[in-house]
Amino acid sequence: MNDQILSITRRHFFKSSGLGLGALALQSLLQREAVAKPQSNNPLAPKAPMFAPKAKRVIYLHMPGSPSQLELFDYKPELQKLHMKDAPPSFLEGKRFAFIKGVPKILAGQFKFKQHGQSGQWVSELLPHFAKVVDKTCIIRTVHTDQFNHAPAQLYVQTGSPRLGNPAMGSWVTYGLGSENQNLPGFVVLLSGGKTPDGGKSLWGSGFLPSVYQGVQCRTTGDPVLYLSNPAGLDRNLRRRTLDTLAKMNQAEFERSGDSETLTRIAQYELAYRMQTSVPEVMDISKEPQHILDLYGAKPGFVAQSDSADDPRVLYKGDDPTFANNCLLARRLVENGVRFVQLYDWGWDHHGSSLGESIDETLPIKCQQIDQAIAGLLIDLEQRGLLDETLVVWGGEFGRTPMMQNNVRTELRKGYVGRDHHTNAYTMWTAGGGVKAGLAYGQTDEFGYFPTEHPVSIRDLQATIQHLLGLDPYRFSYAYQGLNNRLIGPTEEGKVLKGILA
């Protein structure tokens, strides 16, 4: 990294992390470092957190489209009684919906619930594997947001702003903590479901942070990282020879010009060379023993039929292992020191207005795709002693209405049962990394419409994740455009959820 830029980012970091160094002392420190150790300019070197962390890394499982909490986690028998009756005015007054028009009908939960584990949490029949590991998780039923369209709501969860241009949570975290493995990217993104999430690559963009902190999308087909492979015909030995030649000539250039940036470039080319083997290695799940593959339901080398289809949803199959493969990859990545692994599994937007997006037919398929994989991930992390220090987060960008969506069809029709976007209360869960296990946090009213106890805002969630990682959400900031920008935004609304901390 350019040393002038390095010192910009460092100064921001020191300033924001409140280490209490005098500005003058700091300036001279930076100058000394820049002069004395030009080759140590690695912006991804591990950095100490601001205080002792509970979690060292994050696996964030985002379900773009937003699964229905009323079919999965938030059991509301009361809805059964009001099934297909008009929604009361209190549900509608002053509310904005994406698609619901007029007075919609109440829709009962479409699947059965049972209590599971020692904690006795209610879990849907659609998640039988998850039900078995429910005691490892903390289910939060009262998350609320203020964005009810996908792209802005996803951006809000992941970047702290519904508009574009802010750094992703993973970028913040790698900026704050660096990465523990210099041969792999610090912030990795894996996709399934056949599509990029609605918010696009901005969801893992670095915003105003230096682009070195942007998420690197690792792909399971083609080069796992773009341009990772040498061109056909150019083998690894020849690449090594090229790099040796480059290093020799660049070293001579450094000796003449004295620009430490040149040394950094030599180091980055060497890192690229190491990544050429380390990334495919970590991305290769075929070497995992069969019982581990079975634990997740993973199938190495599988390419889904729905992958990159124009509309993949109608092609979804319950035994599609793409998400399971990604969960296994996530474990391999964190095991190898990657700081933040972000999974997006597209296809959870169950409006019921067209084929392949219904609560009654599509949701069960999507649940089959993720259920065993998620349970496998938690079990595997635990058996490797990784769960304690790995924070796992699961959820969508909002929830779904207790009312049936009515803008296309007003009557129930098989394969077309749907719910609209709901912002007031929805379910997310976390596990590992300093979070209380077996906890049900927050209560919603009898219809699952509003929180009645412990409402949790997106800002609270972001503050809590940062806190668990040893980053003070209020002081961890980056000065840009005259503001000390923070993931939790300019106000002090975001609160660390003390109640879920272990």
């Binding site: 209490g20 230096p210 069809r409």
Partner: protein, 977 residues
């Protein structure tokens, strides 16, 4: 340190009084300031500290102000309060702010622990010195008028000002860079492309000031100048080729990009450049070019996601325009005033919306069409449009004539049918059915499935059959349609006769139609039906015989149910029901003549051609002011929420930055005039700083995006003001400003550095040497293509798609696919690469290019392994390597000269002895590798798309490609030095 006094039991006022006493006692022995140091300046030294630490509670924001104290206003900061004054000029030990800042009492210390802020000892010392020196108040430095320094002596003004700053550190300007290095620097800086070694050598042979100046003039006059400098402007303009957000569909806004290139090439003065882009539409009799310029503020995003509130995203776009305008011209962040009064800069919540009101009067409203737009047709396209229209009219006319003739010929047959009165209609799923002259038309809501229930009054007599005629209706496009969606499907037809004794179900037999099988509509199965979907543009009819003819003694009501359950709004649009008394077997559906069908098909094709044409027309989004009677009233958005509106505000500019110039209108045109008004100190400073930063890597004000209280102070304030005044007073000419900078000795310095220099000016902010930095994303690409001889010089037009890895565009809704360009468009300048906001071209973002989502003031330069992977392995660079290899092989004769040729083409400067040796041995070894494995040579040539030059073996040429690839990855090649 201040001794701790147990004070917590005392009332606050007494505790503060005690604190001041203790503070005075403790500090009397402190000597102020380092001897001989320059006096502390309030505007640049003190204000930033107060802004960062105090203004959040004691600043402009009235709502959050604590203790009714503000420190951003001199009179208040120095006012006598009950127990003293915050600032007592000349008497630091009596100044309350210092007492509070240094207190050990957590209840007393400022800023309070809850603010998570900490003032350093050095900062407190600065404040102390400032008070001791008399606490002279100033406005924030950037808000003060630009004062052009008077330069004495023979030095060029820039050199004089830089030298003066350097002299204070016992430094001086360094020697000139070598002529060839200087030429390369100049080319890359001014046009973003490298020169050839021949051009550089020619200059080196006569490196006179006049020759240098000629080269500067020549470069500034090249069309590539505009292409290069447009990039800086397009980053600010958040230019992209798509609309952003979830769907991120394409838009044709590239004519705006071409406008920018042309304006820069024409050296359009900044005041005009500003006015045309912000308010070209409001100028008297605007030209088409002035209208095109207004697309600047239509680079905001449009959200086409289903279920979005257009007003929400219209408001977001207007706010983006407000924020971008302030950022780009004034260097101020206005964004925070959306929600509350700015905590650091003098912009109140109400003033934000006053300024917003000036932008809140345009027609655009987050519509799918991006309306309002301007169609831009070439003369050829205009002709084509006319031809398509004429064709439609001609075919329609012929069709009408043929249909009339056919109707006439069918009159006798048609007399067999009677049209009963329609007494009642009902759509079960909410469509509106209206009846006129016995024809029923569906309108309004278009449910995916529907049941139409129609009651007819049948006259007395015999009725043998029922005929359903599905009629067509003209759509807005002019095309005919028989269904509400694509055609219709009649799932089931049923009828009952309403008799006094009750309803009697009737059975139908023997269904027949002009097209497809109608009997599926009477088979009792809702899943099958009479479907005409493959011919949805013409009318159809079906006849259903009553199983037993009806013989009515008196008129009776017949209720017909038309069930349409196929979904996708495959429902009838317009239809008629008739009965006949003729013998059922004499009734046949009317089959259109083959000629008629052919003509109908022709018309369909003609409409399709027109639609295809219209879909591909360039429609440039533009700004248009709402009519007077449609103007919006702007209210404050409480906490920035557009749904929570407060008091109405009058349009205007923030008071701290002067009024609109006399006679300026209260609209965007007035804003433009205000921004470029000579009284405005910010616009020229911000722009001059921006230009400087592009040439020197860092601005004189490093925070190019923030000239407010929180931004960094200028490293050479006099230099900045000299440049700003020069720019403003010399006709706002970018080319003149650039010329004066690149003609300076400061610019021409050698960029090599020494340990001593790095110690005294580590970040080269004083210009103690020339600057060396990695090229921009576009320049990295353009340079590689240029030295390899592949670069296309084609200018302007639609964006292009150079190779990118397959499968990147997997966005939620693919409306357009990435197809790797072939031919010239594969090798266009980076400026022309298609920029999709949610999936930008990967190599551009890897090299710090933006996504065009928000205004990007500067790109923070990074150095990453992913960049190495791009220039090593991206097919673009591999093809460039092959191009360079070809030049090496064809322009020189042996290993030595070939390696040297390649290196010189890349680095331009003369080579040092033995410099090419590592390349020669790389080539040699690579050739041995390829000779041992010829299939690898074959594979490399193929992946590099290389044609084998004459007289060289495949392994040898493949080895030259590897060598060229190394050259294109040299640090010196990727850098401008």
């Amino acid at each position: 340190m201040v001794p701790t006094i147990p004070t917590s039991s005392l009332p606050l006022r007494r505790r503060i009084a005690k604190l001041v006493l203790a503070f005075a006692a403790a500090t009397t022995f402190v000597s102020f300031g380092a001897s001989g140091a320059e006096p502390v300046r309030f505007g640049s030294d003190v204000l930033p500290i107060l802004a960062a630490n105090c203004f959040a509670c004691h600043g402009p924001d009235e709502k959050n102000r604590k203790a009714n104290l503000r420190l951003d206003v001199e009179s208040e900061a120095k006012a006598k309060r009950r127990i003293g004054s915050p600032v007592v000029p000349g008497e630091p030990d009596k100044s309350l702010i210092l007492a509070r800042m240094t207190s050990n009492d957590p209840d007393m210390v400022m800023p309070p622990p809850s603010a998570h802020k900490q003032i350093s000892a050095a900062q407190i010392e600065t404040i102390r010195r400032w008070i001791a020196e008399g606490a002279k108040w100033e406005r924030h430095w950037s808000f003060e008028p630009v004062v052009k320094p008077v330069i004495a002596g023979k030095l060029q003004p820039i050199d004089a000002l830089v030298s003066a700053a350097l002299a204070k550190r016992n430094l001086a300007l360094r020697a000139k860079a070598s002529p060839q290095t200087l030429v390369r620097r100049l080319w890359l800086d001014l046009i973003g492309l490298p020169p050839t070694p021949e051009i550089a050598d020619k200059f080196a042979a006569d490196a006179s000031p006049a020759a240098y100046e000629r080269m500067v003039d020549e470069l500034l006059a090249r069309p590539q100048f505009g292409e290069h400098w447009a990039r800086t402007w397009l980053d600010l303009a958040r230019y992209a080729d798509t609309k952003g957000y979830e769907k991120d569909l394409g838009r044709t806004i590239w004519p705006f990009r071409d406008w920018v290139v042309n304006a820069l090439n024409a050296d359009m003065p900044l005041d005009q450049f500003t006015t045309e882009q912000l308010a070209g539409d409001l100028l008297p009799n605007p030209t088409q070019q002035q209208i095109i310029a207004t697309a600047f503020h239509r680079n905001t995003m449009t959200n086409d996601e289903g279920g979005t509130d257009n007003e929400e995203f219209r408001v977001a776009a207007v706010k983006d325009r407000v924020d971008t305008t302030m950022q780009v011209w004034m260097g101020l962040t206005m964004g925070c005033a959306k929600c509350h009064t700015h905590k650091y800069d003098p912009i109140s919540h109400a003033e934000y919306y006053g300024f917003y009101a000036l932008f809140n009067q345009t027609e655009d409203a987050d519509l799918y069409t991006d309306a309002p737009t301007l169609e831009l047709l070439t003369p050829k396209e205009q002709e084509q449009r006319q031809r398509l229209q004429t064709n439609i009219e001609a075919v329609s006319k012929a069709l009408t004539a043929m249909e009339e003739a056919a109707d006439k010929a069918y009159e006798t047959e048609e007399r067999k049918w009677r049209l009963p009165a329609v007494t009642e209609t009902l759509s079960k799923d909410g469509a509106t059915l209206t009846t006129k002259d016995g024809t029923i038309t569906a309108s309004g809501k278009a449910p995916p499935e529907d049941n139409y229930i129609v009651t007819l009054e049948l006259s007395a007599g015999t009725h043998t059959a029922l005929r359903l005629e599905a009629l067509t209706e003209k759509q807005t496009s002019g095309e005919l349609a028989v269904g509400r969606g694509n055609g219709f499907v009649l799932s089931e037809l049923s009828a009952e006769l309403l008799e006094t004794s009750g309803a009697r179900s009737l059975r139908f037999v023997n269904a027949r139609a002009d097209f497809a099988e109608a009997k599926a509509a009477i088979d009792g199965d809702e899943k099958t039906g009479w479907s005409v979907s493959s011919r949805p543009q013409e009318k159809h009819e079906a006849i259903f015989d009553f199983a037993e003819p009806l013989t009515l003694h008196a008129a009776a009501k017949l209720r017909v149910v038309l069930s349409q359950q196929a979904g996708d709004t495959k429902t009838l649009r317009r239809f008629r029901l008739m009965t006949s008394s003729a013998a059922a077997d004499s009734l046949q559906p009317r089959h259109p003549m083959p000629e008629l069908r052919k003509l109908r098909d022709e018309l369909t094709a003609a409409f399709k051609a027109q639609k295809d044409f219209n879909d591909n027309v360039v429609r440039l989004p533009l700004m248009r002011e709402l009519a007077n009677d449609k103007q919006r009233q702007t209210k404050i958005h409480i906490r920035g929420n557009f749904l929570e509106q407060g008091e109405a505000v009058a349009p205007g500019v923030p008071a701290a930055f002067g009024k609109l110039p006399a006679g300026a209108p209260l609209n965007r045109l007035g804003v433009a005039q205000w921004l470029v008004n000579k009284e405005n100190p910010l616009t020229p400073r911000v722009w001059a700083n921006r230009v400087w930063a592009r040439l020197f890597g860092v601005g004189i004000v490093e925070t190019e995006e923030d000239f407010g209280a929180q931004g960094s102070a200028p490293t050479n304030a006099e230099l900045l003001d000299w440049l700003a005044a020069e720019y403003r007073d010399n006709g706002w000419s970018l080319k003149k400003l650039l010329k004066i900078i690149v003609m300076s000795e400061t610019y021409k310095q050698v960029s090599d550095t020494t340990i001593a220099l790095r110690e005294s000016d580590p970040r080269n902010v004083l210009q103690s040497r020339g600057t060396r930095f990695r090229l921009s994303a576009e320049a990295v690409r353009d340079q590689a293509l240029s030295v390899s001889g592949l670069l296309s010089s084609k200018m302007g037009g639609p964006p292009v798609m150079p190779p990118q890895p397959a499968g990147l565009w997997r966005t939620t809704y693919n409306a357009k696919t990435w197809i790797d360009a072939e031919g010239e468009d594969r090798f266009r300048r980076g400026l022309y690469t298609y920029l999709k906001r949610t999936t930008p071209y990967p190599t551009m973002t890897t090299f710090d290019g933006g996504s065009g989502e928000v205004c990007q003031i500067r790109r923070i330069r990074t150095n990453t392994p992913l960049q190495a992977l791009v220039t090593l392995n991206d097919p673009v660079y591999l093809e460039a390597s092959a191009g360079l290899a070809r030049r090496m092989v064809t322009e020189a004769t042996d290993s030595q000269t070939r390696a040297e040729r390649g290196l010189r083409l890349a680095l331009i400067r003369p080579l040092r002895a033995g410099e090419a040796a590592p390349l020669i041995s790389l080539q040699k070894e690579a050739q041995q590798t390829f000779e041992a494995a010829p299939e690898k040579a074959e594979a490399l040539l193929k992946s590099a798309r290389a044609d084998l030059p004459a007289g060289i073996s495949k392994p040898a040429f493949a080895a030259w490609i590897v060598t060229a690839n190394a050259i294109l990855n040299l640090d010196e090649f990727l850098s401008r030095n």
